[in-house]
Amino acid sequence: MTTRTSLTHDELENSLIVHFRPVPAAADLVRRTIDGLRDDFRPERFAERVQVEATERGISMLSPGGQARPPASQASKRLAAKAREELFEYLEGRRSFFSVPVDFSGMPAFQRKVLERTYRIPFGETRSYARIAQEIGNPRAVRAVGTALGRNPIPIIVPCHRVLRSDGGLGGYGLGLPLKIRLLGLERSTPVLEGCATTRIVCRVGCPDAMRMREDSRVVFASVDDARSVGYRPCKVCRPSDATLS
């Protein structure tokens, strides 16, 4: 004897309708959102104050306020200007990666190892101090890792704000904890992969080609494969498929 096991069209429709029936939002959800509007952080003000130094190989110093030494060459001047521009876009939530190179050469060996590892933590993700220590082959040097990160000469571009304590605590931050919280929040609300609805091309957020995209053409994707599944192709300039593998 065979029993009827397949679902009728109506049965599936009904269960979908029930499943997606709107549930009322908490009464204070909108009020909480409005409270969030009163936020006085101005990325452009922060970016204006920032001083950047570069060698011909890459960025060597980034500091909010203070004085930068005059650039040694045209090449280093160009790099510093580019870094400032990218920093501004990053703080505005329009960039998920930095394309300017970093010059680690002036650093002590241990700090260099820590910062080079930290540099590879993807946008929007976090690691623990202990894990960084482990990955550079010095699992007991957790505190030293913290110190090396605290003296990071190129904060934000070398994302030491993505390193947290193993218990989820924030740890410290050279530029002050409020900025660390701010940067982590910023990375939570900035997407990484964005497609253009008119060209059907998917880019990393911050790709020079994607910058020209109109606001109402932006569609966020969770992976390059998802984008492909609905007819988008990866950009040949920023190569999002390579980036998401790291």
Partner: protein, 198 residues
């Protein structure tokens, strides 16, 4: 009643009252969509807040040939999709930890659906939905939360109407297959139980 478009133009001039009104009109639908995609209320509320903030900040670039609802759903799905991306990269890190802890939930509810509560929860459907590819799942959510047309869905996700149709059909096929599986299993169990009793 003031139309969505009028409200939106007032939001562009940083009118908080208009923003509150608009947010209230859509909060339940946005919350449900986000909840069904993200699997738990806390993350869904967070996503809705972020979407509404984004709406407020980008109201200046709103162009009136868009229906406000379409614009708003575009913003909200963008936020949810990026949250799912973040989870995927996180889960590849945490997978080993979960498996070690014997956390079967992670296998049943890869999208964190283990914490789903709320009215009319249908675990079978939930599990079947988890197997539907993300883009199709988003379209299903939008279609059933707000009864959007194929054209609107195409606009929200920036894809062609034909892709919308084929994705929805494929999504439902996977759902049907998943739910049929589920049905068969309990019946077999009952039959075996009966057989044992005789």
């Amino acid at each position: 009643m003031i139309t969505d478009r009028e409200l939106m133009h007032r939001v562009a001039q940083k009118d908080e009252q208009a923003f509150a009104e608009l947010a209230n009109r859509y909060s339940a639908r946005l919350l449900t969509m986000a909840w069904r995609l993200l699997g738990n209320r806390a993350d869904a509320e967070d996503a809705v807040q972020r979407a509404l903030l984004r709406l407020y900040l980008s109201a200046g670039s709103y162009r009136s040939e868009w229906a406000v609802s379409t614009w708003l759903y575009r913003v909200a799905t963008n936020v949810c999709v990026d949250e799912i991306r973040r989870r995927r990269s996180r889960s590849s890190l945490q997978k080993a930890v979960h498996e070690e802890a014997g956390d079967g939930q992670a296998l049943l509810f890869p999208w964190g659906g283990g914490a789903v509560r709320g009215p009319a929860q249908n675990l079978d459907l939930q599990r079947a939905l988890a197997r539907v590819p993300l883009e199709a799942r988003i379209l299903l959510a939008l279609r059933y939360v707000d009864g959007m047309s194929y054209q609107e869905l195409a606009r929200v996700r920036g894809i062609s109407v034909n892709t919308v149709k084929s994705q929805l059909a494929r999504g439902k096929m996977i759902l049907r297959a998943g739910l049929t599986d589920r049905r068969r299993r309990p019946r077999t169990a009952v039959r075996i139980a009966k057989g044992a009793g005789e």
